[in-house]
């Protein structure tokens, strides 16, 4: 179901559904008409990524970059057509701010479906590699988030815990200035947050991602992206600029995975601490990762190879492991970048940037800039 069609379904359904509280339950089956293998209620945790995306698009990109995620409350309503739940809508609100509505397809719950499928494999109800289908069942009755947590409380384990979330730090920079000398890669879509790479950061991302392609057999390699958030003083739009890439060094490099070690994270942390230590209260932060799916595609070129200008069979895709990495390492950071390099069936190098869109990491365009004069 495309995003556009889903949005139309939402418009057709109207917004009265927000007057009621709703919960969603996920049901997994081995085939569309098979019996349910497992049911699980969708929790607030499962909706956290969607909530953070609503925060980004409803507030951060609309001139309210200082509004913390914790200050945003959301209400959920299902999108149902012909007794099928196509997805859901989140209405994001914050006192004194204009409410906004955001649609999410069923695919935004793919991570939950993947977890449930792993549980079914463990229980012997599915085999590794089996396909499955999942659906969402809406029910009336409360699942809304409660807004900010108390500043401190005693946990049920007896722990005395105080948690804090660092406020977003950003620079102020006109988008026109960033776009002035930019080279566009792919197609720019105003529906997603603008992303810029400096020329050197872009090249480093590519080099680190493709480094393992030369090994025999090829292995996965990559980098953690360092950058900053900017807000345009004219439009209020937020953007991400990648300024550097730190190699994922000392990691376990395998043909189909890249597993950071404690030394990897220590190095990343040390670089970040050095950058932020040199600029206390500054805007430098981790903004994403790049990595290479460096394995070669099997088989001969397909029939389209002789006529098509571009080859669409590539090793570049967002795997379940990539999704999990982005959801956990960059939790609550819906602007985080997932840049993946690889090759196509013609042996040509290809790369794609993915960011969240309607709860799914989707390919999108970006800009490469020559340099950035940091204030």
């Amino acid at each position: 179901m495309s995003e556009t069609i889903l949005q139309q379904e939402v418009l057709d359904a109207g917004l009265e559904a927000f007057d009621e509280d709703w919960t969603l339950t996920m049901v997994l089956r081995s085939t569309a008409d098979g019996p349910p293998l497992i049911r699980q209620r969708v929790t607030e945790g499962d909706l956290a990524e969607a909530r953070s995306e609503a925060w980004l698009n409803g507030f951060l990109r609309r001139g309210q970059p200082d509004l913390p995620l914790e200050a945003v409350t959301t209400r959920l309503a299902p999108v149902v057509k012909e007794s099928q739940c196509l997805g859901y809508v989140l209405r994001a609100e914050s006192p004194g701010a204009e409410a906004s509505v955001h649609t999410f397809s069923r695919a935004s719950m793919a991570s939950l479906a993947h977890q449930l499928s792993k549980q079914l494999v463990a229980d012997g109800l599915l085999r590794e590699g089996d396909t499955y289908v999942y659906e969402l069942l809406p029910q009336r009755g409360g699942l809304t988030d409660g807004g900010p947590l108390p500043a401190a409380r005693h946990d049920s384990t007896g722990m005395q815990i105080t948690t804090t979330t660092t406020a977003l730090r950003y620079t102020t920079r006109p988008l026109a200035q960033l776009r002035d000398t930019a080279r566009v890669v792919g197609e720019i879509d105003d529906a997603v947050i603008p992303v810029f790479f400096t020329e050197s950061a872009h090249e480093k991302s590519r080099i680190f991602a493709r480094k393992g392609a030369d090994d025999h057999p090829p292995v996965e390699t990559g980098s953690i992206l360092i950058g900053e958030l900017s807000v345009c003083p004219d439009s209020g739009e937020m953007s991400v600029t990648v300024l550097d890439a730190i190699e994922v060094a000392d990691a376990e490099q395998r043909e189909f995975s890249l597993i950071p070690s404690s030394r990897t994270w220590t190095r990343v942390q040390a670089v970040l601490d050095r950058l932020t230590g040199a600029d206390p209260g500054g805007t430098t932060r981790l903004v994403g990762q790049s990595h290479g799916h460096n394995f070669a595609l099997d088989g001969e070129p397909c029939a389209l190879c002789a006529t098509a200008s571009e080859c669409g069979r590539t090793t570049v895709f967002v795997s379940a492991a990539d999704r999990c990495f982005m959801r956990t390492v960059f939790a609550g950071q819906p602007f985080a970048l997932c840049w993946i390099a690889g090759s196509n069936a013609r042996g040509e190098e290809v790369a794609t940037l993915f960011t969240l869109r309607a709860g799914v990491l989707k390919p999108r365009g970006y800009s490469v800039i020559k340099d950035l004069v940091r204030s």
Partner: protein, 101 residues
């Protein structure tokens, strides 16, 4: 009205440890005073939940001093090797990887 100074309330008792835990991106931070007999794995999971990090993955604690992951099955007191008011700095790290497989 009688008030208790904040630092007196948060002082550690015998057998307790004081921790400051942040996530990898240094976006979320938790300060804890906890029983040193709690298992590292349980502390990691609880803290991740309180920091609003996804709870459907496994979290490990990494020492900012030694850079090593703490043993999930050890007690937090044994793992950090100190108790009392000495604050120990740790990073909550998801057991996640990148890749096509």
């Amino acid at each position: 009205m009688i008030t208790t100074p904040k630092d007196l309330l948060s002082r550690t008792a015998p057998g307790q440890v004081r921790l400051r835990i942040r996530d990898i991106t240094a976006t979320h931070e938790a300060e804890l005073v906890i029983d040193g007999n709690l298992r590292v794995g349980a502390v990691a999971e609880t803290v991740a939940a309180r920091m609003s990090l996804p709870t459907d993955t496994t979290w490990a604690l990494r020492s900012d001093t030694t850079a090593a992951f703490l043993d999930d099955d050890a007690t937090i007191g044994e793992a950090v090797g100190v108790d009392g008011d000495t604050e120990v700095f740790l990073t909550a790290t998801p057991r996640a990887h990148l890749g096509s497989g």
